[in-house]
Every structure is written in C-alpha cells, then in structure tokens.
C-alpha cells in the first residue's frame, strides 16, 4: 500500500464519518405529520413562486397608481372647491326662492273663517251661516306695518263685505307704537284679543262687549305699547277717533234704539271727536287686568240742546294657566262695561210715539271659564275643551226695554291648534217690555290660517 492509497482511504473515511454524523444530527429534527398536511404544505410550496410573482406585479401597479394620483390631486382639489361653491350657490338660491315666494316676503295673507248652524226654540231662527275674514299684513320695514282685514258675511240674499281693519303702524321706539286708520278698539279687550272665530271659545259673542256698549273698531289714531316694570308689565293704548253718533232720528231709528250709539260713524256726521284708551297690568304672566274708557261729545248737529256726552268704561281680566295638577289648561276671562249718555228728549214731535225720556245708562258683561285637559295622553280627551259662560246686558230702563241674562255651555274639539269644532247650548232669559226669551243650539267650525 502506497502513500497515495492511504490518503484516499483516510479521505473516504472522513467523508463517510461526516455524512454519517450529519445524517445522525438531521434525523433528530424529523417530525411526523399527517399526509393531508404534507400535501397541503407541498401545494403551498408549489404556489409560492406564483404568489411571489403576483405580489411583484401588485407593487409595480401601486407604484404606478401613486405616480398617477400625484398628477391628479390638484385637479381633484379644484373639483371639490367647485362643488362646494356650487352647493353654496344652490343653498343661496333656495333661500332666495323661499323668501321671495308669495306670502313669505314682507307680505302675509292670513285670517280666519267659520261655518255654523244656529237653532232657536220658540219660533226663533234656524239657519246656517258662514264667514270669511282674510287678513293682509305688509311688513314694510322693521318698524312699519300695514294690516288690513275684510269680513265677508252672508246676510239674507246678499254677501256683506266690510272693512274691519285698515291701519298703518310705526314703531317709534321700544315702548311706543303709532297707528292710524281703522283699528280694533283697544279699550275693548274681548274685541281686540278674543273675537276671532278660532280664538273665541264659543260660537257666539258675549253680550254688551260685542255689538253692544263699546265700539268694536275706531277710525282715528292711536299710541300704544308696553312698559316692563320689574317683574311686572304694563300695556297701554290711547286714541282719538270719530265720535259715535247718538241715535235720535225717528225717521230712521226704531223707538227701541233711541239713545243707542252708532259706532260705525265713518262720516263723523256730528263732527265730534272721541278719545279713550286702556291700561293693562300684568302682575305675573298668567294674569292680566285692564281698564278701558272712551269719552265723547255726541251732541247731534242742528239740535238746540245742551251738550250730550257719552262715557263708556270697561273693566277686564284674563287668567290663563297650564296646570300639572289639573292635567291641562284653565282659561278664565271676564269683562264688564258701563255706558252712560246724558239725558235727552227723543222724538219730541211724536213722529214715533214720543216724546221719550229715560236714564240712558246701560251695563253688562261676561265671565267665561274654559278647561282643556291638554296634558292627558289620550289623543281624544286632550283635544276636548269644556266652556261655560255667563253674560248679561241691563238696559230695561232705556228705550230698549229689556234686561238679558244668558248661560251658555259649550264643548269644543280642537282638530289643530287653530281649527276647532264647537257645540254650545245657551239659556237666554229676558225681562222687560221687549223681552224675547229663548234657548239656542249652536254648532260651529272655525279655523285660523
């Protein structure tokens, strides 16, 4: 054996031992797995090159997209800004269109209407009726307002149209407003605040205060406003207007109307001026009490007599409270009116059976209580409202020759806050030479709009 042979043998032995040692080490990390897992791992291993290739392609795509976005971004910002501006313009146009729509910009058409049925016993009236009172409001500036109201009524075969209000008002300052034209009588609380069909809680209106002893409206000028006084508030109104006309003409006036005042004296035929006003006091928000008056010379022209004066006075109160204890709202109102006209000799030439002389003092008023259980959950009961009113007019000692007492019970159902169905029954008792007692059933639908 030579040296070369020995070297090869040693090398072979070393390699053999090395391989054996390596196999021994490797064999210690072998694990046994189920065939299914082996196949799954093999499958994943086979798919790896493909997935790696796809990832490479995606990275290339992403890089390309980023380059593209960098180019597009400024354009997108411009587009967003343009859309914002367009949206703002559309909003402005919508607001302009909304504010410019008829009835929404300075001018407003509002008002109220009613339809009803009245049936009296003892041969009295049985009839349907309907009224329509459109109210036109123009706000000419923050201080200047014009208001007009018409009243359309069916009377006999005709439709009667009357100008209820036509007044221009100017707010002088925080505490005073000037008004001129035909305006509701501020001395008459019921007329100014309660007479509207959807506000008045009964189908008819109380004696004395409406179509009675106080004017419903005045044609003249007024100053009015409100004065806060600590925790209280005063409201006031003073006015000058056409004076009423004393009804004396036996050719045109029924004897029972002698001595009454014609308040719709638009021509001011006797050339007199009336002045009056009202002051209201609110010691707390739920209560208001007020005193109103009007004084006028009503001496008829061309009649050689001493001056005839008319003094009209009114005392009113209103209490409205929403009470949790009562589960609803109580509404208590009242007004009492006095009318005093100087003595006068009516029909001195006996054209109508005169002469008539009497003490021309009249008085009357009402008190009304309403309750609505508005806090109940029941949707029917919460809209029901019970009303009871007592009203009277004393003028038996005048040419009218009758005292009248009424007690009226009513039940209302509110369809909406300004739409109501009213049913009422009135007991009317009268005494005097012209008495005509009767009971009346009234049904009325009224709405404000």
């Amino acid at each position: 054996m030579n040296t070369k042979t020995i070297g090869l043998a040693v090398l072979a032995a070393a390699l053999t031992s090395s391989v054996l040692a390596q196999e021994a080490g490797t064999n210690s990390q072998f694990i046994t797995i189920p065939r299914e897992q082996y196949l799954l791992l093999k499958k994943l291993a086979d798919e790896y090159p493909k997935l790696a290739e796809e990832m490479k392609e995606m990275k290339a795509f992403k890089a390309q997209a980023e380059v593209t976005l960098k180019k597009v971004a400024p354009q997108q910002a411009e587009t967003d800004q343009a859309l914002d501006e367009l949206d703002k313009k559309i909003t402005d146009v919508k607001k302009l269109a909304k504010d410019s729509a008829p009835g929404t910009n300075k001018f407003l058409l509002t008002g109220y209407g009613s339809a009803g049925f009245t049936a009296q016993n003892r041969g009295g009236d049985k009839k349907f009726a309907a009224t329509f009172n459109p109210i036109f409001l123009w706000k000419l500036s923050d201080r200047l307002l014009f208001e007009g109201e018409l009243e359309a009524e069916l009377e006999g075969a005709d439709t009667h149209l009357a100008l209820e209000i036509a007044q221009m008002s100017y707010v002088l300052n925080d505490y005073m407003t000037f008004g001129a034209g035909k305006f509701l009588n501020p001395a008459n609380y019921f007329v100014e605040r309660q007479h509207m069909a959807w506000v008045n809680k009964l189908p008819d209106k109380p004696l004395a205060v409406y179509d009675g002893l106080l004017p419903e409206s005045n044609l003249g000028m007024q100053l009015r406003g409100a004065l806060p006084a600590g925790s209280m508030k005063f409201g006031y109104a003073v006015y000058v207007a056409n004076a009423p006309m004393l009804m004396i003409d036996p050719a045109t006036v029924a004897p029972s109307d002698f001595g009454k005042l014609e308040f719709n004296n638009f021509d001011n035929s006797d050339h007199h001026v009336a002045f009056g006003g009202r002051i209201g006091f609110q010691p707390f928000p739920e209560l208001e009490v007020g005193y109103g008056m009007q004084y006028a010379d009503v001496t008829p022209r061309g009649v050689g007599v001493n001056a005839i004066h008319a003094l009209l006075q009114s005392l009113d109160f209103s209490y409205v409270r929403d009470s949790a204890v009562l589960c609803g709202t109580i509404n208590l109102k009242g007004q009492w009116v006095w009318s005093k006209v100087s003595d006068f000799v009516y029909d001195p030439t006996s054209l109508a059976g005169g002469p008539y002389t009497f003490s021309n003092k009249r008085e009357g008023g009402y008190v009304q209580l309403a309750y609505r259980p508005s806090r109940l959950d029941n949707p029917i009961l919460k809209n029901l409202e019970g009303v009871v009113r007592a009203d009277m007019l004393n003028q038996a000692k005048t040419a009218a020759g009758v005292d009248e007492r009424r007690l009226t019970f009513g039940l209302n159902y509110w369809l909406t806050p300004s739409s109501v169905c009213k049913v009422a029954y009135a007991l009317d008792r009268q005494r005097g030479s012209n008495a005509d007692p009767h009971d009346t059933l009234m049904i009325q639908f009224a709405t404000g709009f």
Binding site: D99, V171, D174, V199, K233, V320, R321, R405
Partner: protein, 103 residues
C-alpha cells in the same frame, strides 16, 4: 210668562265657585314648583324665548307650531303681534329668535 233668572244666576255662581277652586288648584301648582309650558319667569324678568312665546301667545289663543310659518312669515306675524298684543321690545326679539331657531 215671568222670566226666571234664577238658573242663570245660579249657573254663574257655580261657575265662579268652580273658577275659585281651579284658581286655587292653579296656585297650588305654583307653590309646588311644578313646571308647565305656560308658566315661567315673571313677566318682566329674563325668560327664554320659548317661555315668552308660550306665555304671551298662549294667553289669548292656542300656540301654533314654529314650523307652521317660515322665518320671513314669522317676522311679519311677530311685528303684527308686538303691536296687537302690547309686547315689549325684548319679548318681541326673544320670541322671534326662538321661532327662528325652532325649525
């Protein structure tokens, strides 16, 4: 036939008694501090527009939803009611602000 005023006067008396009881009940809620939409701060004191709206409008008629009219319409109505209802300038301003914010 002689007119009989007794039922009328009797009814009026019953109504007045009922009113007195209701007033007393109303006052009791004041004492208990129960809040109510129509109740609130004193007339001249600072009150929210919503309270002033409920107090002043509800004193004469049912209050209407703020959503019934647009802002422009409420401006006209509130100027009208400021004059008719003898509202103070502050009441007018705060009620109008409330109506604008409520729809």
């Amino acid at each position: 036939m002689k007119p009989n005023f007794i039922p009328i006067l009797g009814g009026a008396a019953v109504m007045i008694v009922a009113a007195a009881l209701l007033l007393a009940a109303g006052c009791s809620t004041l004492k208990s501090g129960t809040s109510a939409p129509a109740a609130g701060p004193k007339a001249g004191a600072s009150a929210s527009g919503a309270q002033l709206w409920a107090q002043n409008c509800g004193h004469c008629h049912n209050i209407r939803s703020p959503g019934m009219y647009s802002d422009a319409q409420w401006e006209v109505i509130m100027l009208h009611m400021r004059i008719r209802g003898n509202l103070t300038a502050t009441e007018h301003k705060e009620i109008l602000a409330f109506l604008r914010s409520a729809h």
